[in-house]
Amino acid sequence: MGTAQRDATAKIVSGASWGQALSRHPGAVQILVAFFLILCWEAVGRTSRFAILPPLSGIMQGWWNILFTRRAAGGTIGTLPENLLLSGQALVAGGGLALPSGILLGTLMARYRKVEYLFDFYINAFMSAPTAAFIPIIVVLFGLGFTARVVVIFLYSFFVVCVNTSTGIRHVDRSLVEMARSFGATERQLFWKIMIPGAVPLIMAGIRLGIGRAVKGVINAEALFAIVGLGGMVMLYGNSFDMEKLYAVIFTIVALAYVLMKSVHLIEKRLTRWQE
């Protein structure tokens, strides 16, 4: 066997084992892809003449800076931890109101025809409407402070939770309802032992979507009128073209959204394990 031929064989063999290794460790693929993207970003950032794409090392530097500094070219805004806390408070307050009340109204709509007739149209209209359009009205009604931001977050996340809950309860397997009736279930038992557990998958999906929308709501409110929190930092550093810091804030927001989504998803998977 000639050397060239042996090399070719070796290449094929190593190629196959690479493919096998990748398919066996999909996590490794993700890390490799991320590493590649980081390298590209760094390379383009260092060689490009436009400030629009700073190198990642610069963004890390910017991230380190906004952990402590309050000054920006366009004005003053708190440090990243301070603003993270501000956004977090609004998020917890808005989401904390929207999730339980969405589940409650969704439940009432599924159980009582009259409630459904009353609200169905408005809920669906609001859910499909772009919530940002209502922001000026909210500002007029509630001002520019904490309350207005909480209202915006509420409006962003409430409707999807409500609709999912009501759909989930209404679409519970009819044969299970019949079975429970046959074994003498009371209305209360039907509700707690059949409707609610049966609706858990859709309710959890609604909560996940609702939290995703709440994050959008808080950033939109802060960027559009409040100029505080993470959204405020985006506006301020964006307007002053401080790209390193802007990207640092954006990455923080993306990470926050991802961690929130992932944790809800884990709870969701645990609660709906019976479905797989």
């Binding site: 044969s175 074994f183 003498g184 557990p197 019976w274 479905q275």
Partner: protein
Amino acid sequence: MIDIRNIVKLYKKQEDGRPVEFYALKGFSLRIENHEFLSIIGPSGCGKTTLLKMVDGLIPWDEGEILIDGRSVSGPGPDRGMVFQNFALLPWVDVIANVGFGLELRGVKAEQREAVVLEYIRAVGLDGFEHHYPRQLSGGMQQRVGLARALAVDPKILLLDEPFGSVDAQTRRLLQHDLIRLWERSQKTAIFVTHDMEEAIYLSDRVALMRPRPGSVQEVLKVSLPRPRNEEIKKEKSFVDLKEYLWEQLKGMQLPKS
């Protein structure tokens, strides 16, 4: 005794935009003695499941009366336990919780129902699967759970709605064998809805033959085969003759195309 007297059920449906009424059941009468195993057989769509659910108190009717030991049926009650065609198991809990569900609804505490539940899980041959979820079980095993759930509430009357209709032929025979064994031991009254002639004869003391639209009893046949029964009786002449007779009757009952 279950006394079903002259039941009439009128259904209204839309046909070409016009409301059309038709009789699902008309003049349905049947008596089932205590400790009797009676099968109801008939072509699909003849209303046999509807009738069974009426006896269970799940579906209302328009005229007539259903009496159980002289008392009129007005809803589900603890004297009846139902086994469903599609199993109707709770997918989010394990076998133990499913078998104990009827008892749970009656307010029996978990510690108190455990012994009964385990006993019936063993009776239907599911020991070792106590903590499995329905999706982890085969169709036949799921229906064993359904059967154990109905037996666990210790009803006087067992109502079975084509319980083995959606399992394969071999499993079906095993389930029939186990059902007959369980029933012979318990001596409950049983109404068994099926469209399988062999199954109806093999299990029953009497077979009620239904004709469709409007659904009513055409004939009630007595099965004079000794108990306890086993697969061997399926070869006996009286068994084969009865099956032939049923087939002759059912063959003529083509449903009008709807």
